[in-house]
């Protein structure tokens, strides 16, 4: 009868939140759209950075600490570099780190969740204990230890955040699996002699995809935030400055050159807010409760 202790009680993590009241869906559509908007701006800006600005984010120039003006939309930093291009290219780094590590986390999480949910019994028990361990270990501190021991660099940071972040997805996918397993169409497929692999991929996966998308949105937000933390502590990749690193470099100029910290900070917060809103909106639409990062 002992519920798995450390895990969030199933009900909170399960789709218990189906909106009982129809008129709520409008509220959550709104948050999805606002989220997409907030997310879209930095995403698009980062993607078509070369179109938006010719300035090289790394090029030094004598015009240091200039306030935002036509020449430099977001002003220049302490070494005369154009903040606008640094925010855009920094956005690329942050988003790449966020999306790729979220991808890794999603893949592992889905795999673990599917296997645990489908086979149940011993496998489920073992996988859930492992999930529990990963859920308890302070992920960010572990990320610091790994980066400090194995050295920084974009690829390592991505792998570390990805490999440590799959717990949330695993929980949601498993929860859905427990429900879907008992659906008629799964039983029918089993009777039809389909192999476990076919059932999982052709029948169950499509139904789980919406929850994976929700989890992906939230994971990306979390990953970008974690990367910005690592950069702030000086463990980021100095040759590829992300928003976190820009904020760290702007520490000393909060008053002198407010634009150096404000724009990267806004971009970072906007993106994470956008991702959370999208995740939230989709979660309510599919009835999946907010997933613990």
């Amino acid at each position: 009868m002992a519920e798995s202790s450390a895990a969030l009680p199933e009900s909170a993590a399960l789709g218990a939140g189906t909106p009982t009241r129809r008129h709520r869906s409008f509220a959550h559509n709104a948050s999805t759209w606002v989220g997409l908007g907030l997310l879209g701006i930095p995403l698009l800006a980062a993607l078509c950075a070369p179109l938006l600005t010719g300035a090289d984010p790394m090029a030094l120039s004598p015009q240091t600490l200039r306030a935002p003006a036509l020449a430099h939309l977001m002003g220049t930093d302490d070494l005369g570099r154009d903040v606008f291009s640094r925010v855009l290219y920094g956005g690329r780094v942050s988003l790449i780190v966020g999306l790729t590590s979220a991808l890794i986390a999603i893949t592992i999480g889905t795999a673990v969740g599917m296997v645990a949910g489908y086979f149940e019994g011993r496998t489920d028990e073992v996988l859930m204990r492992i999930t529990e361990i990963f859920q308890i270990i302070p992920r960010f501190l572990l990320a610091i230890v790994v980066v400090a021991l194995l050295g920084g660099g974009i690829v390592k940071v991505i792998v570390v955040i990805g490999v440590l972040g799959w717990v949330g997805t695993a929980r949601v996918v498993r929860a859905q699996l427990l429900v879907l397993r008992r659906e008629e169409f799964v039983l029918a497929a089993t009777l039809g002699g389909a192999s476990a692999w076919r059932i999982l991929t052709r029948h169950i996966l499509p139904n789980v995809v919406p929850f994976i998308i929700v989890s992906a949105a939230l994971q990306t937000g979390g990953a970008i935030l974690t990367e910005s933390f690592l950069s702030f502590l000086g463990l980021g990749d100095p040759s590829r400055p992300s928003w976190g690193l820009l904020l760290q470099q702007a520490q000393l100029y909060l008053q002198q050159a407010w634009w150096m910290s404000t724009f990267p900070g806004l971009a970072l917060s906007m993106t994470i807010l956008g991702l959370n809103l999208v995740g939230d909106g989709l979660a309510s639409k599919f009835g999946a409760r907010k997933i613990a990062r």
Partner: protein, 339 residues
């Protein structure tokens, strides 16, 4: 177009509902009426049943009495007179004082009616404490006494345990104990036995009958199980599509149902009390969809005796005997009984 039934607020009625209309608005904006002009009375100490299929509005009507209409329901019209005061116009605090003291309610699913994290004794005690300034020990004693009255053994240890340590039947007994804690004038039982197996159902019904006889508490029984009505209730009201289609003393309703729906209901239940063995009859068609009801008699689409007039307009409640009325143009006594 709903015409309200003739108001019959006779003095001794404990509860008199007149022309109650409860509307639900769906997300898409259109509204439908769960109760559409319902009127009924319950005398002190009387046991009245409201019978009908699920979705007929009987449960919503019952809840409206305590102003507990589930969201997004709204009471649009009508009066609920209780001991001479209209509950719908009463300020919230007074309604709150009335709930649990003068009118109590027992719900359908005992498994979810008790708060899983609070001890049973405490939840029953709360019903008392909400309405009376008593010391903890006094409340404790009352709780034990109540548990004994509803037949729960080993009361002291039982009061201390949690709901999940009770069986279904015992939980319903606890709910009833909670209901009658302040010996209310009226006990509303919303499908109290539906979630229980048959043997337990009988015990619960017997318990309620004893309580009614012992303390004279009027009982308004909401059920879709016609059989229960026979053994417990003095009067029956049949609801269909949000309105009362027939009401009258139990024997008369059972012996000579006038509204085809009541008749069909009685024919779809195995009868042990009558000798003639007739084939069970299933009511054809689907239960009415409150969003698009037919213009005329709401039962018309499923009524074997429907005539043209039934489709045109809705019949009013017509008296067909002492306290016996039905909402039908044809009435069973005129229709030839099918095989």
């Amino acid at each position: 177009m709903t015409e309200t039934a003739p108001s019959r607020t006779d003095a001794k009625a404990l509860l008199a509902i007149e022309g109650l209309v409860v509307e639900f608005a769906s997300a898409q904006g259109e509204t439908f009426r769960a109760s559409d002009g319902v009127s009924l009375t319950v005398a002190a100490g009387e046991v009245v049943a409201i019978v009908g299929e699920s979705g007929s509005g009987k449960s919503v009507t019952a809840r409206a009495i305590l102003r507990l209409v589930p969201h997004p329901g709204r009471v649009r019209a009508g009066k609920i007179m209780f001991q001479g005061r209209d509950l719908l116009r009463m300020p919230r605090e007074q309604v709150r004082e009335l709930r649990g003291r003068d009118i109590a309610m027992v719900f359908q699913d005992p498994m979810t009616s008790l708060n899983p994290v609070l001890r049973v004794g405490a939840q029953i005690g709360e019903a008392i404490a909400l309405h009376a300034r008593l010391s903890a020990s006094a409340i404790g004693a009352r709780v034990l006494d109540l548990l004994r009255r509803v037949g729960i053994p080993a009361t002291a240890e039982r009061a201390h345990s949690f709901p999940h340590e009770y069986s279904g039947g015992m939980r319903q007994r606890a709910m009833i104990a909670m209901g009658v804690a302040n010996s209310p004038a009226l006990l509303i039982a919303d499908e109290p036995t539906t979630a229980l197996d048959v043997t337990i159902q009988d015990q619960i019904i017997t318990l309620m009958r004893d309580l009614n006889r012992a303390s004279g508490t009027a009982i308004l029984l909401i059920t879709h199980n016609v059989a229960l009505v026979a053994s417990l209730c003095t009067r029956v009201l049949v609801m269909y599509a949000g309105r009362i289609v027939e009401e009258g003393p139990t024997e008369e309703i059972f012996l000579s149902p006038q509204h085809p729906y009541t008749w069909s209901l009685l024919r779809s239940v195995p009868r042990v009390d009558t000798k003639d063995k007739k084939r069970l009859l299933a009511i054809k068609g689907q239960p009415p969809n409150p969003r698009d009801l037919p213009p005329g008699c709401k039962f018309e689409p499923r009524c074997p005796f429907a005539i043209a007039r039934c489709r045109a307009s809705e019949p009013a409640l017509e008296t067909v005997g002492a306290g016996h009325a039905a909402r039908c143009f044809v009435m069973m006594k005129n229709a030839e009984a099918p095989a």
